[in-house]
C-alpha cells in the first residue's frame, strides 16, 4: 500500500466532528429493543471501537449515527447537526459528510471500481451529473486520489466483483473517503477477512485517523483488534453500554463481562503481518 504524503495525496479533510448520543433507545417494529437508553460522547478525532457479540446492538448503534436506523427516542448529534428527526434532502446532505464501510463491502459487483468510488460523491454532485454519468472534474480527482491513497488505483477499471475481500474493503474505504467526510463509520469491516488482510484494513483506518484527524468509529467483535488499533473501547451487551475506557487498558476480564461469557479462541484474531 502506498502511503501518500499529506499535501500531494488525499486532500486534508474538513474539520472532523464529534458524535453524541443522548438517551437513545431503538425499538424495531417487531418489538425487539436493540438499544436501551444509550448515552455516549465521542470527541472529534478519536478512534473508538465498539465491541460486542452479534445481536448486542452495535450494528443498530452505528446506524443511528447516520440515520439508517431511526432512533425511537433520544437524540443523536453529529458535529453541529442533529440526526434524529432529519428527513429527505437534509438527511442526505448530512450523510454526505459521514462515510461508512460495511462487513459485506456493499459494492456494486458488476460495476467498475471507479464508478463504485464515485458513489461517494452522490450527495455532493448535482443530480444532472449523476444521471448522465459524467462526473465533475473535482469528483473525478477525488475518486482517483482516494483510490490511490488506498493503493487500488491500478484496479480502476476492474469490476468490483473480481476483487478479493481485502481489495473490496479498500475500495469501500476509498468510496467513503471520496465523500470528504467528517466522520468515518465502520460496521464490522474485517469480519469477513482473513487475519493478515484484517490487519491491513484496520491499519488503513488507523492511518486515516492519524493523518487526517478523522473521527473513526469501528464495530468489532474481536478483542485483540480493538486493543491494537483503537484508543478507546466501548463495550456493548444486550443494548446497553457495559464498558468504556482506554483500549490498551482493557483486560480479559473486561471482555468476559462484555461478551457475557468466558473468552474462547475464536475471539482472538491471530497473528498480524
Amino acid at each position: 500500500m502506498n502511503a501518500a504524503t499529506p499535501d500531494a495525496g488525499v486532500a486534508t479533510a474538513p474539520a472532523s466532528w464529534p458524535i453524541r448520543l443522548e438517551h437513545v433507545t431503538v425499538t424495531y417494529p417487531n418489538g425487539t429493543t436493540a438499544l436501551r437508553d444509550v448515552s455516549l460522547e465521542i470527541a472529534a478525532g478519536e478512534m473508538v471501537s465498539i465491541v460486542g457479540l452479534s445481536g448486542s446492538g452495535k450494528s443498530t448503534l452505528i446506524r443511528t449515527i447516520n440515520g439508517l436506523v431511526p432512533a425511537t427516542s433520544g437524540t443523536v448529534t453529529v458535529g453541529p447537526h442533529t440526526v434524529t428527526g432529519l428527513r429527505g434532502r437534509r438527511l442526505r446532505r448530512l450523510r454526505g459528510h459521514i462515510g461508512m464501510i460495511f462487513q459485506g463491502f456493499n459494492l456494486a459487483e458488476r460495476v467498475d471500481v471507479y464508478r463504485n468510488v464515485l458513489v461517494g460523491r452522490f450527495a455532493h454532485s448535482p443530480t444532472i451529473r449523476t444521471l448522465t454519468g459524467i462526473p465533475t472534474a473535482h469528483d473525478r480527482e477525488l475518486a482517483l486520489r482516494t483510490l490511490d491513497s488506498v493503493g487500488m488505483l491500478d484496479k480502476l477499471w476492474a469490476r468490483a466483483g473480481a476483487l478479493s475481500g481485502g481489495q473490496k474493503q479498500r475500495v469501500a474505504i476509498a468510496r467513503a473517503l471520496a465523500q470528504e467526510p467528517s466522520v468515518m463509520l465502520a460496521d464490522e469491516p474485517v469480519a469477513s477477512l482473513d487475519p493478515p488482510t484484517a490487519h491491513a484494513v484496520m491499519h488503513e483506518l488507523e492511518r486515516i485517523n492519524a493523518e487526517q484527524g478523522l473521527t473513526v468509529l469501528v464495530n468489532l467483535h474481536l478483542m485483540d483488534l480493538a486493543r491494537q488499533y483503537t484508543t478507546r473501547m466501548i463495550g456493548i451487551r444486550a443494548g446497553e453500554i457495559v464498558h468504556d475506557g482506554p483500549a490498551n487498558e482493557a483486560t480479559d476480564a473486561d471482555f468476559e463481562r462484555i461478551y457475557g461469557r468466558s473468552i474462547q479462541p475464536h475471539d482472538r484474531l491471530g497473528t498480524a503481518t
Binding site: R140, E141, L142, L144, R145, D154, W157, E180
Partner: protein, 280 residues
Amino acid sequence: MTLRLTAREAGLELPRHPSRVGPTIATVVVGALVVLSAADLDIDWAELGAIPGELARYAGLMFAPPSWEKLPRALFEMWRSISMAWLGAMLCVVLSIPLGMLAARNVAPAWIRLPLRGLFAVIRAVPEVIIALVLLTVTGLTPFTGALALGIAGIGTQGKWVYETIESAHEGSAEAVRAAGGGIAEVTRWALWPASAPALMSFALYRFEINIRTSAVLGLVGAGGIGSMLSNYTNFRQWDTVGMLLIVVVVITMIIDAISGALRRRIREGAKARGLGRTP
C-alpha cells in the same frame, strides 16, 4: 478544500480503460438494423400521429359505457376458457415432467436427451393454432380440442423449463446420493426431484396463467370460449359488448394471476427457506 490538479500534473498513473470498441460496434449494428427494419415495414409513419385519437374514440365506444347485457353468456364462455386452460395445463405438466427429466444432462445420455430436446424445439416453434388444426381432424372443433392443443403445445416450453431446472439443481445432494451407491433413478427421486419440485410446481402454475391467455387465442380461431365471443362481436363491430368482454377477460385473468402469483410466492419463499436456490 478543493483540488485543482489534473491527474497528469499530480503524477497519478491511470490504467487504460478496457476497450470499448466491441460494445460500440454492437450497438451501432443493432441500431442500424432497427432503423432499417422500421423503414422497410409497410407502415405509413405519417399516420402514426392520428392513432392516439382513433384509439381514444374506440375506447369511448367500448367503455363509455360497456354493455352488460351479454354478461351471463360471457361468464359461461370464460369458464369454458378457464377449463381449457386448466386441463391443458394438467396434461402439459404431466407429460413434460418425465420427458423434461429425460432431457436433462444429469439424468439421461445424449442419445435420449438430444432427440427430446429437438422435439421440444419443434413443438415450441409450431404455433398452437396449427396444433389445434391437426387435432381438429381427430376431436372436432370443440373445447376439448382446445384443451388438448394447449396441453401439447405447452410441452415445448414447459419441457425446456423442466430440464433447465433439473440441470441447475445443486450438485451437492446428487453427489451424496451417488456416493451412497445410488443409480440414476435414485439420484433423480431423492436428490434432483426434491430440489427441483418447488420450481417445477411454480412453473406448472405459470403454465396455467399462460394458458388462460392462449385459450382466448384458440377461441378466436374457433375452439370456443371467450375468444370466439370476442371475435364475433368485434367482427359485428358491437363495441359496447366488446368493451364488456375485454373487462371480463382482464378482471378474471388478473384475479387468476393474483392467486397464482401468491401461491408461487409462497412456494418460492418455502424453497428459499430450505436453501433451494432460484425458483421462478
